[in-house]
């Protein structure tokens, strides 16, 4: 299963970015292979509507669970329409991944 985590840095030891649409990085983590991909958020500096585009992007990647701080109302509409589960979390990216992995087992 693919999980997306908003991250302040490029590795799994980084802190979760509390903002969704304007986060620094998206980390896409595959729970079956334990591989991950890091993508810098191109909408971070968008004047408006960062959330709608970030959500569309996260959905296009086949994400099933999104781990982040807070999702704004526009982005939330897209995330829910795409059937993605939102998990609000703080702390390190790796800890949140491990917690979600335990829960889905």
């Amino acid at each position: 299963m693919k999980i997306c985590i908003t991250s302040q840095g490029k590795d799994l030891e980084s802190e979760i970015d509390p903002k969704f649409g304007r986060c620094k990085y998206f980390i896409f983590y595959d729970t079956e292979t334990n591989q991950y991909e890091v993508v810098e958020n191109p909408w971070r500096e968008a004047s408006k509507g960062a959330g709608t585009q970030a959500a569309q992007f996260v959905a296009s990647k086949g994400t099933k669970i999104l781990i982040t701080g807070k999702v704004g109302p526009s982005a939330e509409r897209v995330i829910i329409s795409a059937g993605i589960k939102i998990v609000e979390a703080k702390g390190k990216v790796i800890d949140a991944i491990n917690k979600v992995k335990k829960e889905i087992k």
Binding site: G49, A59, S60, V78
Partner: protein, 280 residues
């Protein structure tokens, strides 16, 4: 002839000047373009004749034609569209408050799956007070497209009348939309550091729009800072309204200056003459 009344700073007296000017001349129209908080009606108490809805273009998706390619979302610079593609179907989500109604998605959809739809964002009110025609633009609460409502209000300007535009404060898009295309821009200011600072900004806007302009000093007392600026920039000071409790009280009761103090009528008529001369 179109005369716009603007200021950088809010609360300098734009509405006081605009209303009194409209009431002092024959054959005038007053256009309240401060669509986020129109207040001319409080002073004029016009008899309302007509209300017209202001609508903006939005895309409507034809789900039978859409193949969820996502092109509309890619080209939308306002990020107002999100397209989701599932296995055999999908979804197009529009965020109306982000959409500027440019129509790009409708025009460029490869499948021609976008149709023209409309969404209400404001209202124009038309009325009369004696010989003064009143036009007010009002933006609905939570909407942001002030320029669309302003442009609609300005479409009721009649070329054979003298139209007085009460512009919104500031120097952003709504102000530019309001004063653009006028023959003369009156900049109302007050002799305070804030008044001067924002007059400088507003004057820059009139220069960029190539509008002839002049200054009205309201709450006039010691006007040196404004006078120095005007002198330096060759900007005429066309009128002064003194800083008096009596005038402030009239405003607080919603009584136009020229109604309570008819001697001001002559001053405003002189102001119009000065503006007309300036045009020549």
């Amino acid at each position: 002839m179109i005369i716009s009344v603007a200021s950088g700073k809010g609360g300098t007296g734009k509405t006081t000047v605009a209303v009194s000017l409209a009431l002092s001349i024959e054959n005038s129209q007053i256009i309240d373009c401060d669509v986020e908080e129109p207040n001319v009606h409080l002073f004029l108490n016009p008899e309302i004749k007509e209300k017209i809805k202001v609508k903006t273009l939005i895309p409507e998706v034809d789900k039978n034609k859409c193949n969820y390619c996502g092109y509309c979302s890619q080209i939308c610079v306002y990020n107002a569209l999100a397209v989701l593609k599932f296995n055999s179907t999908g979804d197009v989500l529009l965020f109306p408050h982000l959409c500027h109604g440019c129509g790009g998605c409708i025009l460029l959809c490869p499948e021609r799956a976008m149709n023209q739809g409309y969404r209400e964002i404001g209202e124009i009110t038309i009325g009369y007070k004696e010989n003064v025609e009143f036009v007010e633009g009002k933006l609905n609460i939570s909407e942001v497209l002030a320029p669309k409502v302003i442009e609609k209000a300005k479409s009721f300007i009649k070329p054979d009348k003298i139209a007085i535009i009460d512009a919104p404060p500031g120097t952003t898009c709504p102000t530019v939309s309001a004063i653009k295309g006028s023959d003369f821009c009156l900049l109302v200011t007050e002799p305070t550091p804030f008044g001067l600072h924002d007059l400088e900004l507003a004057y820059e806007v009139t220069k960029a729009l190539k509008l002839p302009s002049g200054v009205v000093i309201n709450k006039s007392e010691d006007d040196k800072i404004i006078e120095d600026f005007c002198k330096k920039n060759n900007l005429p000071i066309l009128m002064k309204i003194p800083f008096k409790r009596e005038i402030a009280e009239l405003y607080s009761k919603g009584v136009p200056l020229v109604v309570a103090m008819p001697k001001y009528k002559e001053k405003f008529q002189k102001l119009i003459t000065l503006i007309k001369d300036f045009k020549k």
